[in-house]
């Protein structure tokens, strides 16, 4: 495989960081002198297209957004409010109407396939066929070896189990390496002891110090299950269902039965999401409802943020060719459509060091497991079939994946009680990286597949220009 990666060779000396702060990772971000990587992109010129961009609140973006916030047009303020309210939501639309300040074009390899209402493959069929495809890659190229990011969570379990089934020879299994951390074991210890330990090579990610680019540089094809959430919905939804009654009662909804009935209808196809509009708006603008407070964050949102966000999602639903009807669909479209790029790119954008990433796509060196047309079409036709969420709580979320796991493990504990846990930060804790300050400097992916930093030439001007000229609310 001819490859021509240009990347930053990682060295802690490359970045300025505070040794004392490293001992307390949560305070890493609180320092005055911000670092700058040696290898950078060409920067941005006003009007440049992007594949993807960040909307994140941290000490770097705070420096950029805070001085201009009060002078921004309303849409610009709401855009910054996204960062405050839902940090790590980096939205780039793949389909439908979703206006934003920067010109964004879809990354071809991550495009959404057309909606096919007749798609009838099951979750198990999509999964087993995907595993056979990986097997065929291994069979075609004898020097290809696989590194699977394994968290012990539902999504990466699906991947591993399908590979356990598909890789049916010793030679093939020897080319699969499990990349994990102790947290991966803690998420599902019995499975790890029985199916992984002693059966596969294991790479300890060592609290994130063994990173994506290390694996690529060692010649691995990296598989992640990052897009698993996008198949089923998002934890923003299960968190809402969980707190629904509190939000409803604060708005004056009276009577446990009415609130309970509303809650039980959440995943039903005959209950339109607009029924929940008032409660949704309250949820979407509740301070710190779904973000990690930082020392300097002021989670004071511009009035109307919740309603604006609701209307934006409503517009997206109405302009998409898949059907968005129930409340669970309403949340699902966030991650399946506008957040897909974030889940697809974060491995190399934030957990890796390569500046130029086109070879990853050209040589299939980076496999987002769920980035297949079949999986995406499965997700589009399975709204409200009980496959994404069987009931209304997190215990039945990702039901099709739970059943797939159960079919192999026969483990009732996992079927009924395993929860979706935000695992990636556990196995790759970016905030404790020695160069965490560089990571928060990363702003976008340009159309040359290069990571663009805030400190690259012209980027601050680019942000200012586009935020100040962002007037279209919906």
């Amino acid at each position: 495989m001819p490859e021509n990666f240009t990347h930053d060779t990682f060295s802690t000396e490359q970045y300025h960081y505070d040794v004392q702060a490293r001992k307390h990772p949560t305070t890493v971000a609180v320092k005055s002198k911000l670092p700058k990587a040696k290898v950078t992109s060409n920067g941005l010129k006003i009007g440049d297209d992007l594949f993807h961009h960040g909307i994140t609140w941290n000490v770097r973006t705070e420096e950029i957004y805070t001085p201009i916030y009060n002078d921004l047009p309303l849409a610009g303020k709401y855009h910054v409010d996204f960062a405050k309210q839902f940090t790590y939501n980096r939205f780039s639309p793949r389909h439908g109407r979703w206006v934003q300040p920067y010109p964004v074009v879809p990354l071809p390899e991550l495009a959404m396939p057309s909606f096919d209402p007749n798609h009838n493959k099951t979750w198990a069929e999509c999964t087993d066929e995907r595993a056979q495809w990986v097997k065929s890659l291994l069979q075609k190229e004898s020097n290809r070896k696989i590194a699977l990011y394994y968290s012990g969570g539902i999504d990466s379990l699906v991947v591993l189990i399908s590979l356990l089934k598909a890789l049916d020879t010793k030679e093939l299994r020897e080319r699969l390496t499990i990349c994990c951390s102790m947290e991966s074991v803690i998420e599902y210890p019995v499975f790890f002891e029985k199916e992984v330990l002693g059966q596969f090579k294991i790479i300890d990610l060592k609290m994130g110090t063994v990173r994506f680019n290390n694996l690529i540089n060692q010649g691995f094809t990296v598989i992640t299950a990052d897009l698993g959430d996008a198949m089923f919905g998002t934890e923003v939804s299960t968190q809402f269902y969980y707190t629904f009654r509190n939000h409803a009662e604060r708005l004056g909804f009276q009577g446990r039965k009415m609130v309970s009935d509303l809650l039980e209808d959440i995943g039903k196809p005959d209950a339109h999401y607009s029924v929940y509009k008032d409660v949704l708006i309250a949820y979407l603008e509740t301070p710190n409802v779904y973000s990690m407070p930082t020392k300097n964050r002021e989670n004071i949102l511009t009035p109307g943020f919740g309603e604006w966000y609701y209307n934006k999602l409503d517009k997206l639903a109405q302009t998409s060719d898949y059907t968005v009807h129930s409340l669970h669909d309403f949340f699902w479209q966030i991650i399946f459509n506008v957040k897909w790029m974030h889940c697809s790119c974060r491995c190399f954008m934030y957990f890796g060091d390569h500046t130029h990433n086109k070879p990853l796509f050209e040589h299939t060196r980076y496999i987002n497991w769920f980035q297949s047309d079949d999986y995406q079409r499965w997700s589009m036709v399975n709204n409200n079939t009980g496959q994404k969420i069987k009931g209304v709580t997190a215990s039945t979320y990702k039901w099709a994946a739970r059943e797939y796991i159960y079919d192999y493990t026969k483990d009732d504990w996992a079927l009924y009680f395993k929860l979706k846990i935000a695992s990636f930060q556990k196995i790759a804790p970016v905030h404790s990286y020695p160069h965490a300050m560089d990571i928060i400097d990363r702003f976008a992916l340009d159309t040359n597949y290069s990571v663009v930093r805030h400190s690259d030439p012209g980027v601050i001007d680019y942000i200012h220009h586009h935020l100040f000229n962002y007037n279209e609310l919906l």
Partner: protein, 243 residues
């Protein structure tokens, strides 16, 4: 010149080192404290214990091999939540709890009459099969809690040989030059840790009892005191093994 009782009292009264003002733990410790193992996924309490925060936290950690849990210390609340009815109760204010944070349990605290509420059967556990698994979970949780209370008290009463505890307080280099034992049994790493290990990795109560019996097999055991106490407190029938 010897110290008088009065002068010692005066000396004590002058002290202002940190720690002279006792830890304010009223959120977690009080005469009415109810330690509740809570599942955000089920959205109900699984177990109630009024004896010991730390044993209950360990039980939650041990159960995390099967379900992510949180330990909640409930204080200043007259609602009688116990092991007979806790499956019908939940925390009233949920906006502070995140659905998807950790597999490893953490400790939280709620206080007051309105901090908990009766909420009926958990929403997604109303069919007979999943309801049975909820009861199975509770059975296993109660079993773990009882075994942990028993082994912790038995160990504390009889074990003056826990060198491992002290080794961990010292430089890691010491471990490489000196061996240490956790108790006077011959169980690797000690009966206390091994009991937890059995509870953590077993899938059923029956499997766990088998594992516990192996710990106390008379071919392995040297110290009968801790064994006798453990079986007395745990209520398990003692199975001496083959010899």
């Amino acid at each position: 010149m010897s110290m008088t009782e009065q002068s010692l009292k005066e000396l004590v009264a002058k002290q202002d080192t940190i720690g002279r003002v006792p830890f304010n733990g009223s959120k977690f410790y009080s005469s009415d404290a109810n330690y509740l193992i809570y599942s955000v996924g089920v959205d109900r309490f699984i177990l109630s214990d009024r004896l010991d925060l730390w044993t209950t936290l360990e039980t939650a950690k041990i159960l995390s091999s099967k379900i992510p849990l949180t330990l909640i210390a409930l204080t200043n609340c007259s609602v009688d939540i116990n092991n007979e009815n806790c499956l019908f109760y939940t925390v009233a204010e949920k906006t502070g709890w995140k659905m998807s944070e950790n597999a490893c349990p953490e400790l939280g605290a709620v206080s007051g009459e309105d901090a908990v509420e009766e909420a009926g059967i958990a929403l997604d556990f109303k069919d007979p099969i999943s309801a049975q698994w909820l009861v199975n979970l509770q059975n296993y949780a109660f079993f773990c809690q009882k075994m942990l209370h028993a082994i912790r008290v038995a160990d504390a009463e009889t074990n003056s040989d826990d060198a491992v505890f002290f080794k961990e307080l010292l430089d890691v280099g010491i471990a490489s030059v000196l061996q240490s034992r956790a108790d006077h049994t011959r169980t690797p790493q000690g009966a206390l840790l091994w009991t937890k290990r059995v509870l953590y990795t077993s899938q059923t109560i029956e499997e766990a009892i088998d594992g516990i019996n192996k710990i106390w097999d008379s071919r392995v055991l040297r110290d009968k005191d801790i064994r006798d106490r453990f079986f007395e407190y745990s209520g398990l029938p003692f199975n001496p093994g083959d010899n």
